[in-house]
């Protein structure tokens, strides 16, 4: 049994890494979702949708770099193993992220007749990156097994994540947009919410049934009953958001933030449930966090920096969201 910092440094780092990936899923989730939802039939709406994520997408994507970076820094052996198995989907995800990232700038700068082309690239890139992420999550959950069932599960997961990102993207638009676009976003949000809920149920059923470990963790003891709080809260979040969206719109834009907050709650709970299912494995069933961890001296060095810098990052991220608070107007580039 490991003791001292050799024991708890990897625990701290899996927590930090989890936080980075959770923030990534929420933050880049909504802007990828907005990208996926871009409608073909209205250029003004596309402009507004992209304007709503304009100041944020870049920083949002940085959480992915931090998450992968922490995997690389803290668990180098796992980084190599995971990326070995995910080589092709990683390539496709990166291609998608590259395309949408540059489309964002090109669409505003190219001659007008090329703008629609870049909008399509934006939408396609967002969708490709999202599908690839969901597919990778699915493969990760089944421990990179190479069976038909695993690939089927990964495809299911790709669809769920796409629904989830579209949902949080639509919820973001309900909060940030007004008028016709807001009404449209509310309709999108409700459809995507149901797809997301369906996906969560499917994964929650399949996962314990296929993995004895996961089953034992959730149903193995009486204390695990306390975990019921996760599905129960999740159920009520879905219910509240659904009722709100069903009766949308309200006077004075009452509660336009409810779907987004609901989405965040659902994301956090799903993430906690997944994390709980696999802890302390960093590669499910193959490698735990202590086997994968780097030298304590390296972890200390980066931890000190992270503890100083992360609060600053969070503070100035909040500052940036406050600067662009409220309904998005036409993108005033400068």
């Amino acid at each position: 049994m490991l003791t001292g910092d050799a024991y708890w440094l990897p625990v701290i780092f899996i927590g930090l890494m989890g936080l980075a990936f959770l923030l990534y899923a929420i933050l880049d989730g909504y802007d990828l979702g907005v990208g996926i939802l871009l409608p073909n039939n209205s250029e003004p709406q596309r402009d507004l949708m992209i304007a709503s994520i304009g100041p944020f997408w870049d920083a949002n994507e940085t959480w992915l770099v931090l998450g992968v970076g922490l995997l690389l820094i803290a668990f180098p052996r796992a980084h190599g193993l995971i990326l070995y198995h995910l080589y092709l989907p990683v390539t496709l995800m990166l291609a998608g992220l590259i395309l949408r990232g540059v489309a964002f700038d090109f669409r505003a700068k190219v001659p007008p007749h090329n703008k629609q082309l870049w909008d399509r690239v934006f939408k396609g890139g967002s969708l490709l990156a999202t599908l690839a992420q969901g597919y990778m999550l699915g493969l990760f959950v089944v421990g990179f097994e190479s069976t038909f069932a695993s690939y089927a599960f990964a495809i299911l997961s790709a669809i769920c994540v796409t629904a989830g990102y579209s949902f949080i993207g639509a919820a973001w638009l309900v909060m940030k947009a007004d008028g016709e676009l807001q009404l449209r976003a509310a309709r999108w949000a409700r459809i995507c919410l149901w797809l997301t809920a369906l996906g969560i149920v499917a994964v929650s059923v399949v996962n314990p049934l296929t993995s004895a470990n996961v089953f034992a963790k959730w149903f193995g003891s009486l204390a695990a009953l306390g975990l019921l709080v996760i599905p129960v809260v999740c159920f009520f979040a879905v219910l509240i958001v659904d009722r709100y969206l069903a009766q949308f719109p309200f006077d004075n834009d009452f509660g336009c933030w409810i779907p987004f907050v609901g989405a965040v709650v659902i994301f956090i709970l799903s993430f906690l449930a997944l994390g709980y299912s696999f802890y302390p494995y960093v590669v499910p069933g193959q490698m735990d966090i202590w086997q994968a961890a780097s030298a304590s001296k390296s972890l200390w060095f980066i931890l000190v920096g992270a503890l100083i810098v992360l609060p600053a990052i969070i503070i100035y991220t909040i500052f940036s969201y406050r600067v662009f608070w409220g309904k998005t107007k036409e993108l005033t580039y400068y």
Binding site: G54, P55, F56, D58, A59, E61, T62, L64, V65, L66, V68, G69, L70, L71, L72, I73, A74, P76, R77, H79, G80, I82, L83, Y84, Y87, L88, V90, T91, L94, A95, L97, I98, L99, G101, V102, F104, D105, F106, K109, V110, P111, S294, A295, K297, S298, F301, I302, G305, A306, V309, L310, I313, Y316, T317, S320, V323, F324, T332, Y333, Y334
Partner: protein, 455 residues
């Protein structure tokens, strides 16, 4: 047979070459933007704000390309070079981590405010946002160059069971080649941005843009290039001396010196032949290599034959070095001649503007060839003296790497074409907008505060 190793190397070279183009622009361009912004704050002269607004758009586009191509890099280590992190992850990991934590978030977050927040925050906060983005881009260069330098001249670590462990972070970060490499790269970025600014501004003038902004930006670009180029030559020389001390095999390949010689000649041109280990068709300046490297005409330069099997491929290093050197000299000549003409006659003739347009991306060529010298020059090592490149490669099937390489290359060709053509589209668009009649009155432009800057 093309194997996983070769494909992975080509892919890494393609990814890093494409990526470095954009930071090379943005690292320095942001300081130029800060200069424009501060000038505007001090003088209130609208022309500085016009410079800012035009160049911040180009900055945003270049930055976006840098960000997305950089994400690829963070996956690349794990996907294709798992042996790298397994061997030196304890050193490389924290340096990369500090880059993300101290630089990436800073620049990405405040870029949003810099680009879209000008009407939402006070001028002071907007200026501070510009400062923070500039600091962020330079910090990010600092960390990644510290790591690259450590891979060239590793210090402050010990090997235990084939894995590197840090002994002193100070020695790791401030390793022997770091100060030179950081200075060399920051100056390269300054020169690249200066020629980009001069080239695009010259293009606007050629397209009949009579507003003061492109004229002013052209001046700023030329002046910066004229100041930075001699500094770069000096720093480059010091960097060379440092390399001679720590990586003599690289220097021997740069100069294609086969036998250890006192009074080694500088080979202006040759075809180095690695099989017979001689130079064919050599055109040499006697003693000059020794003079450049040891500052003594009779100084000794170690030859490649002392490092048999341990030295880099000679021809690519030799030619890349000459390309960098030639490009640097040409840029120096252009910056000083045109700078002098500008100073004397207040404007440049059409042919000179055309030359500047042709040289818009000359900084890219010099920077890339410089990186090829230092990176190919480190071979066959990935971490000099510690880890060979061939020991770090993945065991993936070559079909997979071939597929990803094809995806990346297609993307890069398309994006580079789109990027370059978009810069010129933006320049043409700017000729048509912001006509002189929207500018502040003549009197305002000739107020005493702005006199110096207008000249």
């Amino acid at each position: 047979m093309v194997d996983t190793f070769l494909l992975s190397r080509i892919q890494f070279a393609a990814n890093i070459s494409f990526h470095i183009l954009f930071p090379t622009i943005t690292i320095a361009l942001c300081w130029f933007l800060l200069f424009f912004r501060i000038k505007y704050n001090r003088t209130g002269d609208e022309v500085w704000m016009r410079c800012y607004r035009f160049w911040v758009k180009i900055f945003a586009l270049s930055f976006a390309l840098g960000v997305v191509s950089g994400i690829t890099m963070s996956f690349q280590f794990g996907t294709n070079w798992p042996g790298y992190m397994e061997t030196v992850g304890n050193i490389a990991g924290p340096l990369l981590g500090y880059e993300v934590l101290t630089a990436f978030f800073l620049e990405a977050t405040f870029l949003g405010i810099m680009l879209f927040g000008i009407n939402r925050v006070s001028p002071r906060v907007h200026t501070i946002a510009t400062v923070l983005v500039a600091i962020g881009t330079s910090l990010s260069a600092f960390w990644i160059l510290a790591l690259n330098s450590w891979m060239q001249t590793p210090t402050g670590y010990e090997m235990r069971d084939g894995v590197a462990y840090p002994l002193s972070w100070w020695a790791v970060i401030f390793n022997p080649s770091m100060p030179y490499r950081v200075a060399h790269m920051l100056l390269a970025s300054g020169i690249t941005a200066a020629f980009l600014i001069a080239g695009i501004s010259a293009y606007r003038l050629l397209r009949g843009d009579h507003k003061p902004a492109p004229q002013l930006a052209l001046k700023v670009g030329l002046l910066a290039a004229a100041v930075l180029l001699p500094m770069q030559v000096l720093v480059g020389d010091l960097h060379g001396l440092n390399t001679l001390k720590h990586q003599p095999a690289k220097i021997a390949a740069m100069e294609a010196v086969w036998e250890t010689t006192a009074g080694a000649p500088f080979t202006v041109f040759a075809l180095p032949n690695e099989i017979d280990r001689i130079n064919r068709y050599a055109l040499e300046i006697p003693g000059a290599a020794s003079f450049i490297l040891t500052h003594d005409w009779r100084g000794e330069v170690k030859g490649l034959n002392e490092f048999a099997g341990e030295h880099p491929p000679v021809a690519p290093v030799f030619f890349s070095f000459r390309l960098m050197l030639g490009m640097g000299m040409l840029m120096w000549l252009v910056a000083w001649t045109f700078g002098w003409m500008m100073w004397k006659k207040k404007s440049l003739p059409v042919w000179a503007l055309r030359v500047l347009v042709l040289m818009t991306f000359s900084g890219w060529i010099a920077t890339l060839s410089g990186w090829y010298v230092t990176e190919i020059g480190r071979q066959p090592y990935l971490v000099y003296g510690v880890l060979k490149t061939s020991e770090a490669v993945t065991s993936l099937a070559r079909e997979n790497v071939g597929f990803s390489l094809a995806v990346y290359l297609t993307l890069y060709v398309a994006l580079l074409t789109a990027y370059i053509s978009t810069l010129f589209v933006m320049a043409r668009k700017s000729v048509l907008v912001d006509r002189p009649e929207d500018l502040p009155s003549l009197q305002e432009r000739h107020n005493p505060l702005t006199q110096n800057t207008q000249e």
